[in-house]
């Protein structure tokens, strides 16, 4: 027990940093995924074959292959492609952004940010495909007559999508979208294979440094508890939001 306590005290700052990193990845990848998902999901319902084909290709290939596989491809393959094609280096890119923001002293001295950069892109692109499916299903669940009615009232297609379909569809999408966000929190653990020191890798390095089962289980219990608190609070928020929407929808009738 003493050994466990000592390890936890020593590792406490790392664990806090890891948790913060996990939350940062969750927020950034979630925003990236939504930014990709909305055009991709609407694109699957487009009138134009080319747009439909591109978004279908994106969604089906991403959903058909494992996240781990994709992350390995992003970090190893794509990185080399963009370097040899455009001379693009993620480290230089981030440094440039920080310089433009007048804060390049934030740039870490001894680690490369490239795995974080490509890992976040991979995770965001992956979840973009899953969320695109949610958005497509939500839009499709809005009755077709509503589109026709809006069009016959003289609204343009873009206006119909924006004012008629999306507000209703969003309400239906909230529960599956939150489910996706919950799994996104869990899947930030995958970034450990790229050597990003988020929560699970912090714990894993500490675990591999000891041989005592008690210390190991204590560390894993801490990690699982932190993930559980984040994900379960998201689940509770989603349940409450869902109940509220059900009530307002029931009141509207």
């Amino acid at each position: 027990m003493d050994a466990l306590w000592n390890t936890l005290v020593i590792k406490f700052p790392d664990i806090v940093t890891g948790t913060i990193l996990t939350l940062v990845f969750f927020i950034v990848c979630g925003i990236l995924a939504m930014v990709i998902a909305i055009p991709a999901g609407l694109g699957r319902l487009s009138r134009f074959t080319a747009i439909r084909a591109v978004s279908t290709f994106y969604v089906e290939t991403i959903r058909g292959t494992p996240l781990l596989f994709q992350l390995l491809v992003w970090s190893f393959g794509v990185q080399i492609v963009v370097v040899s094609l455009f001379g693009f280096s993620a480290d230089q890119f981030i440094f440039q952004i920080l310089t433009n923001l007048d804060s390049n002293n934030l740039y870490p001295k001894d680690i490369s940010l490239a795995p974080i950069f490509f890992g976040m892109i991979g995770l965001g692109v992956n979840y973009g495909a899953y969320m695109a499916e949610v958005i497509r299903a939500g839009v499709q669940s809005v009755e077709h007559g509503q589109t026709e009615a809006a069009l016959s009232l003289g609204l343009s297609r873009a206006q119909t999508t924006r004012f008629i379909i999306l507000p209703q569809a969003l309400r239906i999408m909230i529960p599956p979208l939150t489910n996706n966000f919950i799994t996104l929190v869990q899947d930030t653990a995958f970034l450990q294979i790229l050597g990003v020191y988020e929560l699970s890798l912090v714990i894993q390095t500490a675990v591999q440094a000891t041989s005592s089962p008690i210390v190991r289980w204590g560390l894993y219990a801490v990690a699982l508890a932190i993930y559980f608190v984040i994900c379960y609070s998201l689940a509770l928020i989603s349940r409450r939001a869902e109940r509220r929407t059900q009530r307002t929808m029931a009141g509207a009738h």
Partner: protein, 380 residues
């Protein structure tokens, strides 16, 4: 919007993948070439790009058919053994996850709180923590066990089953909630026992509700089994990316083959799931086969697939596929499940029991229908 036939769509996807990956591969050719016989191509030169993609296609075919590694082992064996292992893990884990998920679903519908609370705690715990950390905890945390009980194979089976049992429990619970509780009671009043009424009255009705999400979960498991590469199981992801590390010149060829194998299995499965869902929605479907018999069939067939795939993997990699390993994996899973249920149930019921002391006495201790609110949420 006219429908494009599925095989055509699949072939189109594969063709685009090959072109994109071929372009990537040809553009990075020079990057690893020490003698610089190839120079990196340019996106702006279409004729060179076409030639490069054609070359890429030929190289990919060569990898699939004749190419060997430094020891003379055909490269296709890497992919075959990886694929076999992936299928094997899914075929062993999914039926077991469904059976344990059914047990959990029945437990979480029970009126006895000593059954209900641990089952709910189990499900919430496994659904709200990362599969990756669960796997690492099972493998690294239990390394003190003897190696015949804990090795990558048994730990992998245990992880997949324990995690997916929680998801299957939610699916089955939604299905059970769709059947009126009165039916089970009516069956019991006709003299059927609990398991008889479950088998003859309740389960046949829920199959149409639970089959589509279970098939979807099978696809998810198929993809999630890629994390087993982190505990040194050389399944498909590990094999294709590992080959890419060994022969960086052909990185994109291996990646393309791996991606196409994954798509070849998951896209048709998704298609089957969708068509099953549509067919079941259109008619009120009651299966003619006794669900018990059906379950036994599914178990038998998937075990057969697992054993055959295991034997294949065994010939290729000489490491995995021992049947005893799967038996010990199942044993380890059941043991862990029992421990987790007891521990989590204890953790959850202790504060609950303490809080119960402060409750006002005129309120019922527990709601009579445990499945009223949460099930309505899950059923959507």
């Amino acid at each position: 919007m006219q429908k494009i036939p599925a095989p055509v769509r699949f072939l189109a996807i594969v063709a685009v993948l090959v072109i994109v990956f071929g372009a990537c591969g040809s553009l990075t050719l020079g990057a690893f070439d020490k003698v610089q016989t190839h120079s990196p191509g340019s996106l702006l030169d279409p004729s060179a790009l076409v030639g490069n993609v054609w070359h890429f296609l030929q190289e990919t075919l060569r990898v699939v058919t004749t190419a060997t590694d430094r020891n003379g082992v055909p490269l296709r064996n890497y992919f075959l053994s990886g694929l076999a292992l992936t299928i094997e893990f899914c075929a062993i884990s999914m039926p077991l996850a469904i059976v344990l998920g059914l047990a959990l679903a029945l437990m979480s519908r029970a009126r006895n709180r000593w059954l209900r609370v641990p089952a709910r705690a189990y499900v919430e715990f496994f659904r709200n923590t990362p599969l990756l950390v669960q796997m690492l905890a099972i493998y690294w945390g239990l390394l003190f066990l003897p190696p015949w009980l804990l090795n990558p194979g048994t730990a992998g089976v245990a992880t997949l089953v324990l995690n997916y049992a929680a998801y299957e429990c939610e699916n089955l619970r939604a299905g059970l909630a769709a059947v009126d509780r009165g039916q089970g009671e009516a069956a019991e009043s006709l003299g059927m026992g609990f398991f008889q009424s479950l088998r003859h009255v309740v389960l046949p009705q829920i199959i149409s509700v639970v089959l589509p999400p279970i098939l979807n979960d099978l696809i998810y498991m198929f993809k999630d089994s890629s994390i087993l590469s982190l505990i040194a199981i050389s399944e498909l992801t590990k094999q294709s990316t590992g080959l890419g590390r060994q022969f960086p010149d052909h990185y994109w060829n291996f990646i393309a083959i791996g991606a196409i194998i994954y798509l070849l299995l998951s896209l048709p499965l998704a298609r089957v799931a969708r068509s099953v869902e549509e067919r079941l929605r259109s008619v009120s479907y009651v299966p003619r086969m006794d669900p018990m018999v059906a379950t036994v069939w599914v178990l038998a067939i998937s075990t057969l697939i697992g054993v055959v795939a295991g034997a294949l993997a065994d010939t290729y990699s000489q490491k995995f596929g021992a049947i005893t390993q799967w038996i010990f994996g199942v044993g380890l899973t059941l043991l862990l499940m029992l421990i987790v249920l007891v521990v989590l149930g204890g953790i959850v019921s202790l504060p609950g029991g303490l809080l119960g002391l402060f409750k006002r006495p005129n309120q019922p201790d527990q709601p009579d229908k445990p499945d009223s609110a949460p099930v309505a949420v899950a059923a959507q």
